[in-house]
Symmetry: C2
Subunit: 338 residues, 2 copies
Amino acid sequence: MEDVARLAGVGTMTVSRYLSGSAKVSERTAQRVQTAIKQLNYRPNELARAFRGQRNRSIGIIIPYLYDPFFANCAHAVTTVARERGYTVLMTTSDEEPETEFREIELMLQRNVDGILVIPTYRRENRLTRSFFGRTPVVAFDRPMSELGFDSVLVQNTTGMRRLVEHLVGHGHKRIALLGLYRNLYTINARLQGYRRAMQDAGLREEYTFDCETESEAQRTLGAMMQHEDRPTAIVATNNLATHYVLNALMKLNVKVPEEVALAGFDDFELADRIQPPLTVIRQPSLEMGRAATNLLLERIEQGELPETGNRIVMPVEMVVRQSCGCTGTSPQVIPVH
Amino acid sequence: MEDVARLAGVGTMTVSRYLSGSAKVSERTAQRVQTAIKQLNYRPNELARAFRGQRNRSIGIIIPYLYDPFFANCAHAVTTVARERGYTVLMTTSDEEPETEFREIELMLQRNVDGILVIPTYRRENRLTRSFFGRTPVVAFDRPMSELGFDSVLVQNTTGMRRLVEHLVGHGHKRIALLGLYRNLYTINARLQGYRRAMQDAGLREEYTFDCETESEAQRTLGAMMQHEDRPTAIVATNNLATHYVLNALMKLNVKVPEEVALAGFDDFELADRIQPPLTVIRQPSLEMGRAATNLLLERIEQGELPETGNRIVMPVEMVVRQSCGCTGTSPQVIPVH
DNA sequence: CTGTTAGCGCCTTCAA
DNA sequence: TTGAAGGCGCTAACAG
């Protein structure tokens, strides 16, 4: 910067002001500075700026996996919003490991990010306290953070699953089973609650299991279930992986969907309407969530205020009715869930 | 740091040395420093370190889209390797816009990243020269960078497609059409070349079109093609999106796969074996690519040497033979491509 | 509108 | 083995 200043015959502050626009610079000097910058091929050192000033114009995001399309979509929205608003994104994956998550958050804090977006790992982490983060804003995302004072962006897990089950009840099903995966995940548990509520409301007997950690276990579980005399006539799955396990298991068991058993899942996926039968699912607004969470975080950063008690933003979901539930329409119907 | 030093009754340098291990610190002082750090809850400021020193322990990565599973997988591998080797990742998306890409790269350079990983947008960018990057190592990824001196990590696009076509020829097909998308993408063009070579080698007439930019255009194109008297008996698609368009179009046109026309695609996807019929595809090693590219970049960074002429690492692909090509095996066969 | 001074937190260099 | 001085590139604060 000094070189530029010298070449332009001004002080470094003039260059600084020209670059940041923090104060007026006369037309003529601006021109000269401009020229000098071009000539020297000068690039301001963002690192020095960040180091000097208070704000860094960067945020950190920690996600369990990037190969999960739902998370990847969220992450895409985050990078997009951040870019539009002039922020740099430090991104890392936790592999659902609390230890990794903790270390990576600490590293980001040490890099003075202005704020942190996190999809917290499911193990209770009493280390992720407000005091750990100091005055750095944090927004939790997809799963709330237990400690008070953290904003959270969530979806309507409970209501979504409830509507899905109600839809199956509407088809006349009396025996509806839930097959699940990762019970200790917040989202999964919330969906389970939705299922339970819907079943209770309909006066039906609940029947749920989380014994399908692997494809073969799912097959055994379903095999046993379907041999039973009063076997379920409909199944809901708590998440994509569970849906796929169930689908594969039913195929191997030669059970026809939806003729012999109806099926519905939570979380839409790209080919849900290309497979046979097209799947009825709850769709989560992944891009909107990423956008909302990032906007909220940037608001907090720019406002400079930490919330007293963390806000909860709950995003609505949609039911995408295709054919696996027993409906016969040829094109999917999208129904908002309230 | 000064506070810590004061509390421990030592100089700041001792603290610094203790933290970085750059010189010996006596057992006793180490203890005292350690305690002081704990007491004050001190965290070293990575930003100041990066600002001061030459190396930053951070890399940047620019990807077109994170919602594309292939890219997301690559990105996952990048974050994993970087984390293991103690690097922070600045990630952003270009949306395939050269302008955005350029600005974001510049921003990363201004943040003094130690190296940059980029999946370059397809428009020729004469601005991305060696001199633009200065002494910052760059590894291009999935698509090579035209300028000399950039390392590139690619897959066997040409050979992969060639084998795929040869496989169809092996099924006895004489009329094999290629349907493509994004012809100006390096990867797509390379695959086209593979198709052409295979067809020439087999003495067959080439028939390829890139008129399927949208689903409806694909349908029109295929509709016309299939009405023809000597219509193709097999189709290859250049990428996932093209495959899906073709699949949907064929379904709407009521053409049975593989009975009436065989189909094979480039790039595997999660549900390729759940759809009807299960798709025969070329599988790209996305995670391995991400790993290889990151390792190469970190090598360059730690070696501190820029390559004279960019190396090309070409990763092998696999052919996953399922049923859409006309094979009848019930479980997919994975065949390495040489 | 413009320049001067000082200091952000760390580490390289030199001296003890 | 330890400490003191100085400066990385930038900008807030205060003059002019």
